[in-house]
Amino acid sequence: MIRTILQLTTFGNEQSRWRLAGIVLGIAVGVGLLLTLLGAAQGLTDRDQRRSWLNVNFEYRLDEDGEAYTLTDDTVMVGRFTDYVAGDAIERIDVAATQTTNERTPWGDPLPAPGTYFASPALIELIESLPGEQLGDRFGTLIGPIPDSALGSPDSLYVLAGVDEATLGQFQSWWIQPALAGDASGSNVVYRIVMVIGGIAMFLPVLLLISTTTQLGGAQRAERLSTLRLIGATPESVTRVAAIEMALLALTGALLGTVGWWLLRPVGARFVVDEGRFFPYDLDVSIATIVAIAIGAMLTTGIAAGVRIARMGIGPLGVTRERSEHAPSPLSLLPLLAGLALFGGVTWAFKTSNVDVMLLSLAIIGGFGLTSLGIIWAGPWLTNCASRLAARFAGSAAGVVAASRIRRHPEATFRSVSGLVLAVFTVTVFAASASSVLEADDPRDGAQVFPLSTVYAYIHEGATEADLAGVEREIEAVPGVLGAVIAMEDRNDPGSWLVHRDDAPLLNVRIEDDRAWVRFDAYNYIWGEPDAERPGQPGAATLAGDLPFVLMVATDGSDGVIDTVRTRLEASNQMASLARTRADDIDVTTRKFVNSLANLAYIGIAITILIAGISLTVATAASMLERKRIFGLLRLMGMPNGVISRIVAFEAVAPLVAVLAITIGLGFLISWMMVEGLSYSRTLHAPDIRYYLAILGSLGLAVLSVLAVTGLVHRNTGVNQTRFE
């Protein structure tokens, strides 16, 4: 019985085949997306675990009794640094141990002896591609590669260098801990939040697409089902048929989605996320998960379909439900308001008290999800308001027809654009939030800051004048180096440095008076805004026992020279820190991180917008074809062709316009709350060009879809189509 019904209703005609294709494809895309997101989440967790040894933690410095560890055979002395080469950051750990140490590397090798090092394959490649004096000489002799099991990504630049206790002891920061290990920190909480939000944002349009295609040819289908009821099918069997049909389609879609995901996995691993690409196996998802997803898809879609058919009340004589929808009520704004309130509450709570990061991220995700759903929920009401307004002022036939349609079917008309609306909302939230990081100025030269080409390193306390003179000579011998300058720290004012007035121009330091030693606020010269107005400080005639504090090297700014200087400084063993430039100190890493996130997000948004555009086209086409007989007759009566285009455009664009402005506003509001509320120093800027491209893309797709549907309706309402209905 059920098989017969399926044959009759599911595979009957062309339109029903389109419907099948739409549902299967929608579910396939949804499942593929879900697997990708799950795989990526799993991959990020694995990556965190593998690179946890880098997170050496200063809490280890105190043992259980609250005493500092000392270096024994069962402890290691570590320094955790970020080194730079050609603008790339290297995660660097220097380790010192006793000769008879029992400690090993996290991957089981003996610890590197002083002057030897392990490096990640990507770093080894980089070292080999550069002259030793630019990079390799900083670490000593290579022992071997760090295995993949200790790398975040194949692109990771890690080094574990062996040093002796005395040398590491010269550094400003080091500590002794019981093992070379750390905690898997939630270092990518932001990524996770963004991924979950992105997942929600990409998933809702897919669900909308599925729900749209499900309703394709709904009227015809209801008719067929009611015919079956007439010849004796029970309501239960009709419901069961709908459920089984959908479950089968979901299974097909899930299979298709899994296969597609499997095939596209290598492509997914190519995307740079956080510190680099994924290992291909990072994106793997367990068979159990895949099966669970397939079963979940079958169950949810099957039950939903059954419930919908049951609620439609298909009797032997047709559908009992009334054709017009209920007028939406302003109460439908509540979820949206709740979402905004949640966001506001979180922001306020974060501002005023300490909130657990996990709780905070959950609240943000919840707030975003609620707001997104709230927009979909409130959309019909807003659309209805707009259509009432439009109906009052509509003077043209197309306007009256479209406004009336929207008024009778606010849910259906809004549903067709809701995907685009959501996409626009997400892209606005994202682009506005990212702007706070991306739009920060590039590090640049200017008055009252060190030149970007200047390399500096702190001098360790025990360095003698002779040692320093030797280092200075060696550095100045490097071609491209303009000069080396030693700055003293003002004993009475630790924030101020002193340089000789002859050296001041090399460092861009302003001379206030004619005294021999120029005093300046180092903090401003490293982190301050270029060209800012700052009060000058009086210089000093002589040094009052001030000590050499930092060695600064002016260079011509080329990567090779800067890196060579870094290498010389680090290899000199006279420094208390690695060599840096002002650019290193500005938060370049964060910006790279956000940029890679942005690339990923915009790819996701592009996919979402595309899906939403397809959804809009399908929904608009369905709503027009439902009325193809009457449009055909109207054309026969002499309605000009342009009117149909205008009706299509009006019905698609009016709800878009009604909700889009509000949506964009909400997007900015939410990202303002996130940025102003949750981070300390950032402010909202104008979003970057990709945002406008995304918005333009959305509108362009809407236009394309209107054109496509117009063409379709024209072909389907021609005289010959109408004549033989």
Binding site: S324, V401, I630, L633, M637, G638
Partner: protein
């Protein structure tokens, strides 16, 4: 010529001679000849019934007469205009401004109220919304539908819906009204009401009417009838011999 397509000249019917005249009209659909040389004259103000079994070509004839289809051969002249020489746009304009149409069913926009449905052709030809609604209301009164103006088509009875369709067809004051099986889906009483209403209005306005029907009782409202059989009108039936 464009002037003739608009409503302003609708009343300038020539004093004598047919308002609509077909000569040797042939229309083929692929291999089948739907019309095989039809001659027909329709006098101004005349109510003509076109009868014939299904598949005889009556609907094709209506579509050719109304400029919906272009005949493959022969000519159709409406009010001095050779319709087959007009392009698609001009024919649309002609249909919109000078011809009216009533179909068997399903011709009302489901989301529009009765009065909005009637106002659509006026809006299409550029009448302002308020004026269009006023005229539509007036037509509702004339067809005895005064209290149905704000109802949706789904809330109207078949007869009421058909009278709304008649009102919509007549609201632009067309020169010729084409009705294709206007009572086809109605019971006897509703059919009678629709035909009475239609006839009252067209007789008062002097509108020419072409009714396609296979129902003799509907055809009996016409001044005369012609029969289409196998794509032809039997000799002497369509054209009065001089």
């Amino acid at each position: 010529m464009t002037a003739l397509l608009t409503r302003e000249t609708a009343q300038s019917i020539p004093a004598d001679g047919p308002i609509l005249s077909a000569r040797a009209v042939v229309k083929r659909f692929g291999q089948t000849e739907a019309l095989r040389g039809v001659d027909l004259d329709i006098e101004p103000g005349e109510v003509l019934a076109v009868m014939g079994p299904s598949g005889s070509g009556k609907s094709t004839l209506l579509h050719c007469l109304a400029g919906v289809l272009a005949p493959d051969d022969g000519s159709v002249v409406f009010d001095g205009i050779e319709i087959s020489r007009l392009n698609e746009r001009q024919r649309s304009l002609l249909r919109l401004n000078r011809l009216g149409f009533v179909f068997q069913f399903g011709q009302l926009l489901p989301d529009l109220t009765a009065v909005d449905n009637i106002s659509v052709p006026l809006l299409l030809s550029g009448v302002r919304r308020n004026e269009a609604l006023k005229r539509a209301d007036d037509w509702l009164e004339r067809l005895g539908l005064g209290d149905a103006g704000q109802k949706l088509p789904a809330e109207l009875s078949g007869g009421q819906a058909q009278r709304v369709a008649v009102a919509r067809a007549l609201v632009t004051n067309p020169t010729v009204l084409f009705a294709d099986e206007p009572t086809g889906s109605l019971d006897s009483l509703a059919a009678e009401q629709v035909m009475n209403a239609l006839l009252d209005q067209v007789k008062a306005a002097g509108t020419t009417v072409v009714i396609i029907t296979h129902d003799p009782r509907t055809a009996a409202y016409a001044d005369r009838e012609v029969i289409v059989r196998d794509g032809r009108i039997p000799a002497g039936n369509g054209v009065r011999s001089a």
